[in-house]
């Protein structure tokens, strides 16, 4: 039995320790935000955060994760009370099919937690690991910049800082 801390809650999981986190999240814990895309660490659909960094859950066995803080898209907020990253994606209507979007949000969240001042080029560089087939990239970029603004203004408690160069 392995104990995982996911979105601040401890879960005892019974899956084989070699099982990638993705399948434990989806199959055993009913957290479907992270998606299967390739299983090779090539597309980022399965991206979650571990100790603040973006990781591919499809190639990360749960044996490596006890004692570490796992965060999934469900940990960013709820449909009734969305967090700033989710709010920003809704505001920008940043999805077509949306299958890639939770992975995009989690990688972007990791970036913004490390570098709240990240600009458009930083975001592009950082999201290089994640694929989107619908071509929603322009809106994803706009949404992440909006999320950065929301987080900064929430953090300051002051007025929203000047937005970084708008993509559209």
């Amino acid at each position: 039995m392995i104990t995982l801390t996911i979105n601040g809650t401890r879960h005892d999981v019974s899956s084989d320790p070699a099982t990638p986190l993705l399948y434990v999240l989806r199959d055993e814990l009913g957290l479907h935000g992270a998606k299967y895309g390739c299983g090779f660490g090539q597309c980022g659909a399965c991206t979650v955060m571990v100790d603040g960094r973006a990781v591919y859950s499809c190639v990360t066995p749960v044996a490596a994760l006890p004692g570490r803080e796992i965060k999934t898209v469900e940990g960013l907020g709820t449909i009734d009370s969305p967090g700033p990253m989710q709010r920003a994606f809704m505001d920008e209507q940043a999805a077509q099919c949306g299958y890639c979007i939770p992975g995009m949000m989690m990688r972007a969240q990791a970036l913004l937690e490390q570098n709240p001042a990240a600009g458009e080029q930083d975001i592009r560089d950082h999201l290089q690991a994640n694929l989107c087939r619908c071509g929603t990239h322009m809106r994803i970029l706009a949404a992440v910049q909006r999320a950065a603004d929301l987080m900064r203004s929430a953090g300051d408690g002051g007025p929203s800082p000047v937005t970084t160069g708008a993509v559209r």
Partner: protein
Amino acid sequence: MSPVPHVVSRRGVLAGSGALVMSFALARTAFAQDPQEAQNVGEEARKPLPQPGSLKNEPLLDAWIRIDADGRITVFTGKAELGQGIKTALLQVAAEQLDVPFESLTLVTADTARTANEGYTAGSHSMQDSGTAILHASAQVRALLVAAAAGRLGVAADRLRTGGAAVTAPDGRSLSYGEIVTAEMLHVNAAPQSPLKDPADHTVMGRPVPRVDIPAKVTGGAAYVQDMRPTGLVHGRIVRPPSPGARLRAVDAAAVEQMPGVLKVVRNGSFLGVVAEGEWPCIQAMRRLAVLARWEGHSDLPDAATIDQTILKLPSQDTDILDTGHLGAPEGRRFEATFTKPYQMHASIGPSCAIAQATRDGMTVWTHSQGAYPLRDALAEMLQVPPDKVRCIHVEGSGCYGHNGADDVAADAALLAVAVPDRPVRVQWMREDEHRYEPYGPAMVAKLTAVLDRSGRIVDWTHDVWSNTHLTRPGRAGHLLPALYLQQPFTPPPPKPLPQPEGGGDRNAIPLYRFPRGRVTNHFIPDMPLRVSALRSLGAYHNVFAIETFLDDLAAAAGIDPVEFRLNHMEDPRARDVISKTAEAFGWSSAGTRRPGTGRGFGFARYKNLGAYTAVALDLTVDRDSGAVTVGRVVAAVDSGEAVNPSGIRNQIEGAIVQSTSWTLFEAVRFDRTRITSRSWADYPILRFDAVPASVEVHIIDRPGQPFLGTGESGQGPTAAAIANAVADATGVRLRDLPLDRAKVRTALGRRPASRAG
């Protein structure tokens, strides 16, 4: 509450109610029987009822709109949400014409037990077919309710107002729709006239209403068939042969059945799968099974490097789809060019998935197929049961962009479900299944010739296009991948060309430009070296690429600006508007001085010559050393008729531009002489963020009251052409073989040093 109550005109009510007994004289066309016919064609004006959309096939109003006595209103569509935002747009149409709050409506999408059969959700047809049907049905339902309320309230219909799902009299008395409706009231055929609202009064249509599906998608809510977990769910995986033509000789199934969690190994001929309790154990079992399976034989695939030559040599059925007195050699300078396109993939980010459950009553399949009814018929044939024993329910999946593995995986799931009765079986393809076994967009060749007279006008034009079919969608068991491998295999029905005016490989091969003489010939190739089917925009992507890049070369030869050259040959006023708007917003005329290694390009098409008008202008840079092309600023304009949701249209066009950039710069399916070798994103690279344009700006030319033209696929061809034209502008080298990948650009630059490249 709808902020602007709508006053119903007497004429509208009379037209609506007085004609109830008259159904459309049009015979029901056989959607399910013949997939080739499933897409509506043609363009008529909307008034008088005119372009009834799918009402033509399903005229009963309550097939589209149902109102319960408690006031609940449900809208039904036979179309499916594919990430294009159709749910939201259809609800906007219904809310507007019913005069009810948008949020109060419930929408049921494609389900063979509940909705009309609207064939496939494809060809940018959803707004034309379903949007138009719901538009008219909603308007007529509102008129019926008003007519009934007039009787009950003793007030003339033209003095009643609607709004907030109620009919209100001048004295304030009001009846809710739920109070007015009776059991049979809406169980009538649509009338030939609809009292549509004046577009000037619209409060929901034409607005960027937020998509109804996005909140769940960004919060981890249940949004996809991949995420469904019905009680008792088990997982299935399939072991596909190493080469499409290989057959299973032997496999030690017992060794796998002993693995923990494994319920069953299913073998039927060369169809081999496994069912297990958990998903990861199932994958482990599948991998073990793949190691143990022994295959024999293989396909003989053509040489990928010379696929264009192979295509030209295969037997073809030739049809002149345009012949306006082509004279062969009129006076002037003659030009010719050949354009090629490789096989390309849909390459969905989420591999195809389905859940199937076999019970005593029949088979239920949850699927992201684009055609619930055609899939049902194909599954019934494969399972040898009557169609009414199979129910297909659409649930969203990852974006598909055409006929991907959705139907095949539904068949996989159904075959496994039969082996474990009552248990819902979820099958999701592995990445390598999706890459190797989805039906690809066909490789194509186009040869164009033109004659330019002394004044710089095109006086003669020919276009020959060679392609396989672009439609092997179900309808029949032989269209389903696993059915080809069964002990008693099904054979694929003979491929047929999709007829004009929409066309398949010849889609958009007829130029919209006005040339005095021309001939266009479709060379349809029945033999399929690789399994192929519909990929977003079908042949239009390649034909528009060919026409629009050829035009640029001709413009250069004539010494005329490419945008001006296009306008010189274009009479259609809406096309001219889109071209001019794009050029103006881009600042085309002033973009005269450019740095070395940078170029600008333009592309235009009216999709299918029937749908949306789209033009794209962009600039880009070419890196001489690496051959990398980086798209900078992109400006597009689109006219897709009356714009129901501008944000949705913009989203679709932005997506089309970025996706077409990926196809055009990166994509080709790789294969050796027996197998597909594109097995993952490593060997089928697509665009990543470093190749995303610097900016994309989409202008909508709204046409209130005009028919919906659909949007989803219209940007693919113009983007490809604009990129190729900009690469030629930047380097002085014209590339006509897709994709314009780094190696090709590098080689081309090495071969002919460019005048302007940096």
